[in-house]
């Protein structure tokens, strides 16, 4: 009995730490419902004395946020699907097939981790420009469609699928795509969940690249719209936070949907190579 009590007591510092880490998130939530004149009070009012849920619709009306969010959703969904498809194919190919130059291919793919968009910004912009893709959806998502980290993740996971299963299916006359679909993929769900979440999140977070290729409201993604909104001093800061909360929802929902699978999948993000 005493031991159990002692173990529960251990939760106190841990819970305190968790709350401390989450204070900025709670601050965002609380502020988004606060009256704008209460932004910089001497003492933080964590639970608003008067709730102002109208901050949300007001923010949506003050700037074309529904359009910005739609643009971001379109781009991020395409990026997520692209990563899931291409990273799975490449990861499977690298894990279970031997062909001339396979080790070189793996090295060439992993080396692209050293070439993020921040480094290749100027020439990538010039390529997209020469394709006539400035101010288009494809201009925003094309350079994000495949990520080396996703390929590495899928390769590590597929390595754990017994090759005997694949061999047995081949002897039964199953085609290669059917083997991938029916045997490999069902065993890779945790890795696919991690891949999908991070591909969506990273695209949802993109700022510098859309900033470079988008100059028209029609294709502006929400981070560009939100920064513009924040720069205009006429806009209440509480409404900034309302938009920030709304921007958190899609990733949060995806996280909740995939949570069961993610628990199994996270272990793999740090697998040894």
């Amino acid at each position: 009995m005493g031991r159990r009590l002692l173990r529960w007591l251990g939760l106190v510092p841990l819970a305190g730490l968790t709350v401390l880490v989450l204070l900025p998130v709670l601050w965002m939530l609380s502020t988004s419902f606060q009256a704008s004149e209460k932004m910089f009070q001497l003492a933080m009012e964590w639970i608003p004395a008067v709730w102002h849920p109208e901050n949300y619709p007001n923010a949506l009306h003050r700037a074309p946020f529904p359009l910005f969010f739609t643009n971001s959703l379109i781009v991020s969904t395409v990026v997520m699907v692209g990563n899931v498809v291409f990273c799975t194919l490449a990861g499977y190919g690298l894990a279970k097939f031997r062909f001339p130059g396979d080790r070189f291919a793996l090295l060439a793919i992993l080396s692209t981790l050293m070439l993020p968009l921040e480094v290749t910004l100027v020439p990538t912009f010039l390529i997209v420009h020469s394709l006539g893709w400035l101010n288009t959806y494809q201009g925003i998502f094309a350079p994000l469609l495949v990520d080396a980290f996703g390929i590495f993740l899928m390769r590590q996971f597929v390595l754990g699928v017994p090759s005997d299963y694949l061999q047995a299916a081949r002897i039964d006359g199953a085609g290669e795509l059917r083997i991938l679909w029916k045997i490999v993929l069902p065993q890779c769900k945790p890795a696919l969940a991690v891949l999908a979440l991070f591909a969506f999140r990273d695209s949802w977070d993109q700022f510098l690249w859309p900033l470079a290729v988008v100059s028209r409201d029609e294709y502006r993604t929400y981070p560009l719209g939100l920064v513009r909104f924040a720069e205009d001093y006429g806009n209440p800061q509480t409404e900034q936070m309302a938009v920030a909360v709304m921007a958190t929802i899609p990733v949060f929902v995806l996280f909740l949907l995939l949570q069961r699978l993610l628990k199994k999948g996270f272990g793999l993000t740090g697998l040894k190579g």
Binding site: P24, G93, L115, V119, P123, D205, G270
Partner: protein, 285 residues
């Protein structure tokens, strides 16, 4: 033979993508870095003039220094804090898993929201100063003084990224067989020694992974200083990626921007090679 073709077919789309969107652009950046190009007239070869210009440019040198300081500081602190958080949530305290999921939420918040929220929190009248007030801290102007602006950016980075790497360490800690600790307990190894001689050596692959990925992430830093400090005060938080954007897109000096990109790439390459070398040496022993 048939299987070899399938293997190639599976990998080829990704490879072609990288040739078109990674290696091609990097090659082009190398070429452009030796030219003067404003997107109106065709690129004009100018030799090493761009690099010579950078070497004498105090704004570039300051940004280079900021980038290096930031990479070292944030990689070290992110790794350290991630490890400490992982140890804290890996205890067998009831509710530890819930705490882990809670802490991980800092990764669910969009980075733009993170930046806007912290800009308010670090305001002279913001929450950070309110919380520090009982400890006798005065009104600190975090974002507008030279000494605190970069540490503030590092703080936000740690808050955002340490919980992600925490998850990597938690998984690795869970994979350490309990027998190792039991054997150590019989030998009387406890506390810090137990961590030093059992946990740490078994965590080395993940530690290496986290350091490499955190360093690559921090070399890409753009949004946090862009939003939180605007690169200020007086350029104290301006980093190379911001300089690339300004040079290329505000001043349309594409050649010079490409030259800065080459420098940033050289930093990333040097970091990666140095870490690989360090790690290989450790593996051999």
């Amino acid at each position: 033979m048939r299987l070899q073709l399938w293997g190639v077919a599976f990998v080829l789309p990704a490879l072609l993508f990288f040739v078109f969107f990674k290696y091609g652009p990097m090659g082009w950046a190398f070429w452009l870095s030796f030219t003067s190009y404003d997107m109106l007239a065709p690129p004009r070869f100018v030799g090493v003039a761009n690099f010579a210009g950078l070497a004498g440019d105090p704004v570039f040198l300051q940004s280079l220094q900021n980038t290096l300081v930031y990479i070292v500081a944030s990689t070290t602190l992110v790794t350290l804090v991630a490890l400490l958080l992982a140890l804290a949530v890996s205890t067998r305290v009831p509710g530890a898993r819930v705490c882990m999921s809670g802490i991980f939420l800092t990764n669910v918040m969009p980075i733009i929201a993170v930046c806007l929220v912290w800009r308010f929190l670090l305001h002279p009248h913001g929450l950070v100063n309110q919380l520090l007030a009982p400890f006798g801290a005065g009104r600190i102007d975090w974002l507008t003084s030279d000494a605190t602006a970069m540490p503030a950016i590092v703080l936000v980075t740690v808050w955002r990224f340490a919980p992600y790497f925490m998850v990597v360490f938690v998984a690795a800690l869970a994979a350490i067989p309990a027998e190792y600790y039991e054997a150590a307990a019989i030998d009387g190894t406890r506390g810090l020694n137990r961590f030093r001689y059992i946990t740490l050596p078994l965590l080395l692959p993940q530690l290496f992974f986290v350091i490499v990925v955190a360093a690559l992430l921090s070399a890409r830093l753009f949004l946090m200083p862009y939003i939180i400090t605007g690169g200020g005060p007086g350029g104290a938080t301006r980093v190379l990626s911001m300089l690339i954007y300004e040079t290329g897109f505000s001043y349309l000096k594409m050649g010079r921007a490409a030259a800065i990109s080459v420098v940033l790439f050289a930093i990333v390459l040097a970091l990666t090679l140095a870490q690989m070398k360090l790690f290989m040496r450790h593996e051999e022993t």
